[in-house]
Symmetry: C2
C-alpha cells in the first residue's frame, strides 16, 4: 500500500487525509496482525513523532465506524483491530493471546437475518489453544 493509495481511500470516504490518519491507515493495511492501540502507537511513533495515543484511539474507532477496519472485542482485556475487510472469523489463543484469522467456508453467515433488529456487524470467533501452544505443552 503506497502513501497515495491510503490518501485516496481516505478521501473517497470523505476523511481529511492528515499525517497521523494516513500513517494509521497504512499501518493497519500492511499489518493484518490484529494489533491493539499500543502496538499501532509504538510502531508509528518514530515515523510520526508527535503522535498521541488518543489520536490512535479516535482514528481507529472512526475507521471502524466507517467500515475501513473492524474492532474486535475477542480479547477481554483490550480492543484489537483488523484492517482486513474480507469476511472471516477469528481464533484467539487463551495461552499466548494471539489472534488468528479463520477463513469462513461460505457467505452464509453474512446473510443471516435477525428478525426485528437491524444488524450492522457480524462477528464469529473461537477461543482455545493455538497449535503453537499445544506443541509447547506436549514438550513439557
Amino acid at each position: 500500500m503506497t502513501e497515495q493509495q491510503a490518501i485516496d481511500t481516505l478521501k473517497a470516504k470523505g476523511i481529511c487525509p492528515t499525517r497521523p490518519r494516513v500513517a494509521i491507515y497504512k499501518y493497519i493495511q500492511e499489518h493484518f496482525t490484529h494489533p491493539n492501540v499500543d502496538e499501532v502507537f509504538t510502531h508509528l511513533s518514530p515515523e510520526v513523532p508527535t503522535l498521541s495515543k488518543t489520536t490512535v484511539y479516535n482514528t481507529l474507532r472512526m475507521y471502524a465506524e466507517m467500515g475501513l477496519c473492524s474492532m474486535l472485542t475477542i480479547n477481554e482485556r483490550q480492543l484489537v483491530f483488523d484492517g482486513n475487510a474480507n469476511s472471516h472469523a477469528h481464533f484467539m489463543c487463551k495461552v499466548c493471546g494471539r489472534v488468528y484469522d479463520v477463513p469462513t467456508a461460505d457467505k452464509m453467515l453474512e446473510e443471516m437475518h435477525i428478525p426485528g433488529h437491524r444488524a450492522e456487524e457480524m462477528h464469529l470467533y473461537y477461543r482455545g489453544t493455538c497449535q503453537s501452544c499445544l506443541l509447547k505443552q506436549e514438550r513439557m
Copy 2:
C-alpha cells in the same frame, strides 16, 4: 430453579456449594438477561449481605471456565454473563446496550473445525440497533 437444584448442580461439578456460590448460580439461571457483575452483585446484596464484588467476579469466571455459564465480550466496556448453555447467538444494541438472544438455525456452527488449533469456545454475535431503539428513532 430451587435452591436444592442449584446445590446439586454445583456438587455434580465438584464445586463446594457455599452460600454466595449458590446464590450466584441461581441468579444467572433465573435471569437470562445477560447481566454484568455489577447487576448480579446489586441484586444479591440484600439476600447475601456480606457478598463482595470480588467474589462475584471470581465465581462467574470459574463458572465460565467450567462450562456452567458463558462470559461474553460483546460489550466493549464490560463483561456480561449468560447462564443459558444452549447454543445460540447474541445481538447487542449499540444504542441501548441491551443484549438479546438470537436462536441459531442449526448446529452447523458448533461442528466447525479450526485446522491446527484446539477451539474450546465458539461465539457468534451481531451489533446494530434493536427493534425498540429503531422505533424510538422513527418517532423523532
